[in-house]
Amino acid sequence: MTLEVRKLAKTYGNGAQATPAIKELSFQVREREFICIVGPSGCGKTTLLKCVSGLLPATSGEVLLDGRRVTSPPEQMALVFQEYGRSLFPWMRVEQNVRFPLRRKRLPRREADRLVSQSLAAVGLSEFVRHYPWQLSGGMQQRVAIARALAYQPQILVMDEPFASVDAQTRADLEDLLLSVWERFAVTILFVTHDIDEAVYMGDRILVLSARPTTIEETVAVELPRPRDQVRTKELAEFAHLRGHVYRAIKKRT
């Protein structure tokens, strides 16, 4: 599975009121990579994700998934939003929420059951299958959203600042959960965040975006050892070095 973004550009509006959000972006994502995207506020990170996932048409350039143009949400891709509260269906229980996208795939009942219970177990929510999303905490709701994406068996998981709306402690737990899920399910992850520490902690590569009109400022390879650890990895000199590097790259152009 390869994802290729080629000369992607997005301008909102036309004529005199045209606002160029993305000037030009080109990058490749290889199978099983964990790519983090960071950048200054308002630099079009969300726009990029929407174009990559086919929710928004690009003004020019293209997105290719396994060589085929992405014009609408592709089957191999799952998206996790920042606002978990608004992306889970409040009239469905946790189990039904996770199962919902599987309907389209027309799997035999037993197979669907297996996928659902497996992904809920992977995020540690097996005991909450009968709950409604709003009965759970923010962190748990986001885990449900992740489980839903996992059950869908995507090849690439696209995540838009998924941990921005939870507290620091929960965020650390969710980061580690995502890393273990990534290893276990062998998915490729495209992860947008505004948190530099998070990007360095989790990623293989970091794409640093510039301010609007957005381009790729720099690509930073992260060669920290895996498995990552919240304490040990962050104590490494290399971690601090990378962190500073990325920070300066963002601030330089702002």
Partner: protein
């Protein structure tokens, strides 16, 4: 004991009112306001259960038929209009005008078209009740959180599944508000159409009693209508409470900033 203290104030006024009315009507020899005991006797004679098959059942049948039509049409059209901007633009002024027509005014037209039978009544009820359902459905569909819609798109949910499993449930709180208004409206329009032209029914009975100066009977009919209105409303509220439990839960947790 505490229960009694809570219920006390709530029961006080109704009890006083009934008492006052009972006493006054028994004393005053007012033709228009017969003694409460007479009214209750008449109520028992008519509605428990002599006239139920001859008047109550036909009335309720017409009411529910008109209501069902209004709901089906209102929700169906409402989803259509709410989902497509072009349809909204095109239908907008026409809807604004049609809904402003006071439904009773359509009765002569309905009688002209359908004759004096149950059909014209069902038509009037449906024509009046469709608007609260329609407008609330439109609002409900338009107000669906864009994130929910995007989620459905990302997971490539098909159009029918989107409609049944996402759009309708998401819009259902608003739709229920419209259904509730339409229910009390259907009772009103049923009564009006029966008073205008009918051979049976509760509305017909009440007017007929007045014309033949059977005043206690008239009051018993009014009482029955009040009771029906109250019961229908209470029943609907209960139904709504159960079906929309998830909505109250979601709202409550949203308020707490969970």
């Amino acid at each position: 004991m505490r229960r009694l203290r809570e219920l006390g104030p709530q029961l006080l006024v109704p009890a006083l009112v009934l008492l006052a009315w009972g006493v006054w009507s028994a004393r005053a020899e007012n033709f228009f306001f017969p003694p409460l005991t007479d009214i209750l006797a008449s109520f028992r004679a008519n509605w428990l259960f002599a006239r139920v098959p001859t008047d109550v059942v036909p009335s309720l049948e017409r009411m529910l038929a008109g209501y069902a039509l209004a709901v089906a049409g209102g929700v169906g059209l409402g989803v259509l209009i709410g989902s497509f901007r072009l349809v909204r633009w095109a239908a907008g002024p026409a809807v604004e005008f049609l809904r402003a027509i006071p439904p009773p005014v359509l009765i002569p037209f309905a009688i002209l078209t359908f004759g004096i039978g149950p059909q014209f009544k069902i038509f009037v009820i449906a024509a009046g009740c469709v608007w609260p359902v329609l407008l609330n459905t439109i609002d409900g569909v338009r107000g669906i959180d864009p994130t929910l819609r995007e989620t459905a798109r990302v997971y490539r949910i098909g159009a029918l599944a989107r409609l049944l499993s996402v759009v309708l449930p998401a819009a259902s709180p608003r739709i229920f508000a419209g259904l509730r208004t339409a229910l009390s409206l259907s009772l009103i329009l049923m009564v009006i159409s029966e008073m205008e032209a009918s051979t049976n029914g509760i509305g017909f009975f009440v007017l007929q009693s007045q014309r033949s100066f059977a005043i206690p009977d008239m009051w018993s009919g009014i009482l029955l209508l009040g009771l029906l209105g109250f019961l229908l409303n209470a029943g609907f509220v209960e139904l709504e409470r159960r079906l929309l439990r998830w909505h109250r839960g979601a709202q409550a947790s949203a308020l707490e900033g969970a």
